[in-house]
């Protein structure tokens, strides 16, 4: 009966749209909706989360991998041992692994990939991951020794990032257009602006995947995301862009709605080098003028947890600094006056396409207007944002969710687009990177959070919630996003 109604619905859809409805396809295909299109397909050369969301764990693998619970698991390295001083890692590699182009995977590839990523000319977006590495040595075809200059507490986790996947010297240069990895899926084709297709890799070393073909469909428009799910054009929207439509899907038995957590600290990015934002009083005034509850309710329909620093609330080392700068317009005005701007000033806010940014930006602009800061709203496309804001640092304010896990270290890089340059903070992060003891690490993480809050480096808004909506017949997608990924290795249709 159920399938009968579904057939009817599909038939109506198909005839109405004059398109073959994909729900007719045999259930060995999955169509995944995503709002943003990757800029290219090389996870070792780009900061855009969309790249990892297509390729991580599906096409590319690293020595280790992060699983759905954020734990480090073996991937291309079968096992490893760490020397007592924490400086030498011996990775035992899997044997018999082949790249999608038929070339063999061995220790030389690991040396190549890691040396390439940490090279001074490397375009890797997360070079910090490799900072501690002193040398990578091939012991034999199946063993790699990595020597660190200082112990690095997070090293195995770092090697599981999408930016640290192992690429082959034969194919690395072409990965942007034709990614060649070792994963359970092979890249098939990329219809720019529309979709990316992956097909099952029959020669995969691990457990074979249940889905033969995965199509990532790019649907930038939030309203289209809703209708594409309702019409069955996509099977899953793991990062659903339209929070206001969640209740509708929750009430619909055809769909599973999972509200999970992400590593996305959503911040009002502030150009700390550009006057008047180089003045800590101005930044603190902005912090007092931000009404987080209004932003979470107005932009995200209540989805999101307020944060007071750049740290995920579900992490054990989290310090609640939400009330460090309570919403207080009078206080904000007096701080602004102390900073020498009793009448406020004009500035711009560049907003990338995601809903949280566009809507959040309108709310922040209205809040800052209350204290005399007149913000011109400039909507930008993602590529423009990466170019103008992230690379050229040509901005005053922006709103972005930083979805990389445990990424507080970005504030230690004065060249990062916040341009926050504080030697004291940099010392904390340096010490953190060198510390292995968990308790000591947590204490340093707490210090780091407090310092960012004290300096009001950015406006800290909220932790992005992950709203995943997918067909009720689908199982195995991630509930949370410990790393940016749509890992399909365990995804299957219910029989």
């Amino acid at each position: 009966m159920r399938s009968h109604t579904k057939f009817l619905a599909a038939a109506v859809c198909a005839s109405a749209m004059m398109l073959a409805s994909p729900s007719f396809a045999a259930k060995d295909t999955i169509i995944i909706g995503m709002a943003l299109e990757p800029t290219h397909l090389d996870p070792t050369a780009g900061a855009a989360a969309a790249i990892d969301e297509v390729l991580y764990a599906n096409v590319f693998e690293g020595l280790t991998r992060i699983n759905r619970n954020g734990e480090v698991k073996p991937a291309l390295a079968e096992s490893w041992s760490v020397s007592d001083d924490g400086k030498t890692y011996n990775f035992k590699l899997r044997t018999g692994v082949k790249y999608h182009d038929g070339t063999d995977f061995n220790a030389d590839d690991v040396k190549f990939a890691i040396d390439r990523a940490r090279d001074k000319d490397s375009t890797n977006a997360q070079k910090g991951l490799f900072k501690a590495i002193e040398s990578v040595d091939v012991v034999d075809a199946a063993t790699v020794k990595i020597t660190l200059s200082t112990p690095a507490g997070n090293f195995l986790f770092n090697m599981g990032w999408g930016d640290a996947v192992i690429v082959a010297p034969e194919s690395a240069e072409g990965n942007k257009a034709n990614p060649v990895g070792t994963g359970p899926y092979k890249f098939a084709k990329w219809n720019k602006g529309s979709s990316i297709e992956l097909v099952k890799n029959d020669g995969y070393w691990g457990n074979p995947v249940a889905i033969n073909k995965a199509i990532f469909r790019i649907i930038p428009d939030a309203a289209a995301a809703v209708t594409s799910l309702l019409a069955g054009d996509v099977d899953a929207f793991p990062n659903f862009p339209s929070p206001e439509a969640i209740p509708q899907f929750q009430a619909d038995p055809r769909f599973t709605v999972i509200l999970g957590s992400t590593e996305g600290e959503t911040v009002l990015s502030t150009n700390n080098k550009k006057p008047p934002f180089d003045n800590v009083k101005v930044r603190q005034a902005i912090a007092h003028a931000i009404d987080r509850k209004a932003i979470i309710d107005g932009a995200m329909f209540g989805m999101g947890t307020p944060i007071g620093s750049h740290f995920a609330p579900h992490h054990p080392a989290y310090v609640d600094l939400v009330n460090a700068y309570p919403y207080d317009v009078a206080k904000a005005k007096s701080l602004l006056a102390e900073a020498g701007f009793p009448d406020g000033f004009k500035a711009t806010i560049k907003l990338p396409p995601p809903t949280y940014a566009r809507r959040g930006g309108e709310i922040i602009a209205a809040s800052l207007r209350e204290i005399g800061i007149d913000l011109e709203i400039i909507p930008v496309e993602w590529a423009q944002w990466i170019d103008q804001v992230f690379k050229k640092k040509d901005y005053d304010l922006s709103i972005v969710s930083h979805t990389e896990p445990q990424d507080i270290g970005i504030y230690a890089d004065p060249k990062y687009y916040f341009q926050y340059d504080n030697a004291e903070f940099q010392a904390i992060i340096k010490k953190l990177n060198e510390t292995v003891d968990t308790k000591a690490r947590y204490a340093l993480m707490r210090d780091a959070q407090k310092m960012l809050s004290k300096d009001a480096v950015n406006g800290f808004l909220f932790q992005l919630a992950k709203a995943g909506v997918w067909s009720a017949d689908l199982e195995g997608l991630w509930e949370n996003s410990p790393v940016q990924a749509n890992d399909l290795t365990e995804v299957h249709w219910k029989k």
């Binding site: 206001e244 509708q248 107005g298 709310i363 602009a365 209205a366 207007r369 400039i378």
Partner: protein, 287 residues
């Protein structure tokens, strides 16, 4: 004597118009919208740039006549201010079309020959691009915003008026009184200003009302795709865009700006139709 005839005919036209139902209805609707837009300069029930999140998504009520949006703004106030923005954009854009298009068209008609040919072929070139598409290109290059939307919409109005005024002027040039003026030694420019333009004014007025309504639609379309009026100023098109993901639980967010666009365009079209009927004696006789 010439002047008297003109005055007489305008009085006549006005009389015809006032007995024309679509003109009357169109004038009332357009007048009401314009009044609302003017009123919004001095007074709106609520401040549209102030977001009161706790009031969000209220259904229409005595407190909020058209309800509130997802930021708790009063939709009635937004529709009022949106009317002002739409009208301002359309007015200036049509103005650009008239001020540049009419001289070009009448000049082409007066000169004929190479000037005419060159201008009209260039016109065809601009005309060949779908209007909204060229507006999207222009705003995409120069950045979104009300000013660029005005320029974009204005540019595609130029060939409309150039073509129309050229055609109309060509039909006036062979008339006897133009001949008389030429014999009397008036220059082509003077003839164009003194005789041609007054005689094609009625056609232009009808076209202005039509282009005005198209301008309002174009502004709404550009704002809908995010290239028109930017926040915090409300715009009907962007209100529709923001409403689309909330249609299932807050339909009022889409209904009221949608109705505002429909009613305004309807009013202007009725006005244009009525004017055309009143101005075109042949059409009148056939009724």
């Amino acid at each position: 004597m010439n002047k008297d005839i003109e005055v007489e005919s305008w009085r006549h036209i006005l009389q015809n118009a006032l007995t024309n139902r679509s003109f009357l209805l169109g004038a009332i609707i357009s007048g009401a919208i314009i009044l609302m837009a003017l009123l919004s300069l001095f007074w709106t029930p609520y401040d549209v740039t102030k977001l009161v999140i706790v009031n969000r998504l209220k259904m229409p009520s005595a407190e909020f006549w058209f309800g509130t949006d997802h930021f708790g703004r009063d939709i009635f106030s937004m529709v009022m201010v949106g009317a002002r923005n739409s009208i301002a954009v359309a007015l200036v854009a049509v103005g650009i079309g008239v001020i540049i298009g009419v001289p070009l068209g009448t000049w082409a008609a007066a000169k004929r020959g190479f000037v005419d040919e060159a201008l009209m072929r260039f016109n065809d070139l601009v005309f060949a691009f779908p209007a909204l598409l060229s507006a999207v290109i222009i705003t995409a290059i120069f950045g979104p915003g009300a000013i660029n939307a005005i320029i974009a919409i204005g540019i595609f109005n130029i060939p409309v008026f150039a073509r129309l005024s050229r055609g109309a002027a060509l039909s006036i040039w062979p008339r006897e009184y133009i001949m008389a003026a030429r014999v009397a030694g008036k220059s082509r420019t003077r003839i164009t200003i003194e005789h041609i333009i007054p005689n094609i004014a009625n056609i232009l007025i009808v076209q202005i009302t039509i282009q005005f309504s198209l301008g309002i639609l174009a502004e709404a379309g550009l704002s809908y795709v995010g290239l028109g009026t930017q926040p915090p100023l409300p715009s009907w098109g962007r209100m529709l865009f923001e409403a689309q993901t909330m249609m299932s639980f807050a339909p009022h967010m889409a209904i009221f700006p949608g109705l505002a666009i429909v009613i305004t365009v309807l009013g202007l079209n009725l006005l244009g139709d009525g004017l055309r009927d009143a101005l075109d004696p042949r059409l009148r006789r056939s009724r």
